[in-house]
């Protein structure tokens, strides 16, 4: 069996696995172009500047939804997950019977299936060559993420991101992982060579 034994930054991969493993998803939403994000783990209060943005979001939502903003949504406007996974690239969610939705699905289906992750716990994390990410959730749901924005001609400058309170892991179009701190300073430069290797 071929397994990824060495990706560009084993330390970053280990930290990402640790940040996701065993964490419960308490919020999930889809956004532009069937991209989505999930919040996992402890609920961290948003700081003042973030609250300015989320207040703006709340006002926009209230203007469009006369019945108000759902309690879950309200909570997410005040708190963020200790781990926030944001997926800009291709993905698929499946259960034991087969695929439920992917980034190629219609927006309504994307939203419905992504929200099925709420309340589920990450039971297994696998990061493969090229920063493919696979998360097995409780209840048998599996999320597969495939970084497909590659090279200088990519449609979007990035693939997937994991945000923690103190730092973020950003999978770029060169399929390396940049680690930045909360002041947007790069902590770990991209490696000079040896992007990944597959070992038998």
């Amino acid at each position: 069996m071929i397994k990824t034994a060495n990706i560009a930054d084993e330390l970053a991969a280990a930290e990402i696995r640790s940040a996701l493993q065993g964490k419960r998803c308490w919020y999930a939403y889809s956004s532009v172009g069937c991209t989505f994000a999930v919040d996992l783990g402890r609920k961290i209060p948003r700081d003042g500047d973030e609250m300015k943005v989320t207040d703006r979001i709340r006002k926009r939502l209230e203007s469009k939804h006369p019945h108000g903003v759902s309690p879950q949504e309200q909570e997410h406007l005040r708190f963020k997950g200790e781990s926030h996974l944001l997926v800009w690239c291709s993905w698929r969610i499946e259960d034991a019977k087969g695929p439920l939705a992917s980034s190629d699905s219609q927006a309504d289906l994307c939203e419905k299936v992504v929200r099925q992750l709420i309340g589920k716990t990450v039971q297994r994390v696998e990061i493969r060559a090229g920063w493919d990410l696979c998360l097995d959730f409780s209840s048998g749901l599996t999320l597969n993420v495939f970084p497909d924005h590659v090279g200088q001609e990519a449609n979007f400058d990035g693939n997937w991101e994991l945000w923690r309170p103190d730092q973020a892991y950003l999978i770029g179009t060169d399929l390396t992982c940049d680690v930045i701190d909360c002041e947007n300073r790069r902590l770990r430069p991209q490696p000079q060579k040896g992007r990944w290797q597959v070992k038998a």
Binding site: Y29, S30, S31, V32, G33, C34, T35, A37, D49, E50, K52, V53, T54, R56, I57, R60, L61, K64, H84, L86, W88, C89, S90, S103, D104, A107, E111, D148, N155, F156, D157, G158, E161, W163, A168, L170, I180, C182, E183, N184
Partner: protein, 55 residues
């Protein structure tokens, strides 16, 4: 695949306004399920940059 035209627009706005990664993350949250024109997206991104200027 992810709707390329939609996220290309986001990428264009992010580059134009030189948004940081964290501002881009907040923009993603703010867009949500809204279908925005390029101009609306640009205005939203500008507002986020004002609200959240430090990074």
């Amino acid at each position: 695949m992810v709707r390329k035209d939609d996220i290309r627009q986001v990428d264009s706005v992010v580059r134009k306004l030189k948004l940081s990664r964290e501002q881009r993350k907040l923009l993603h949250r703010a867009i949500g399920r809204e279908e925005l024109t390029y101009r609306e997206l640009l205005e939203l991104a500008k507002a986020i940059r004002e609200d959240f200027p430090r990074k």
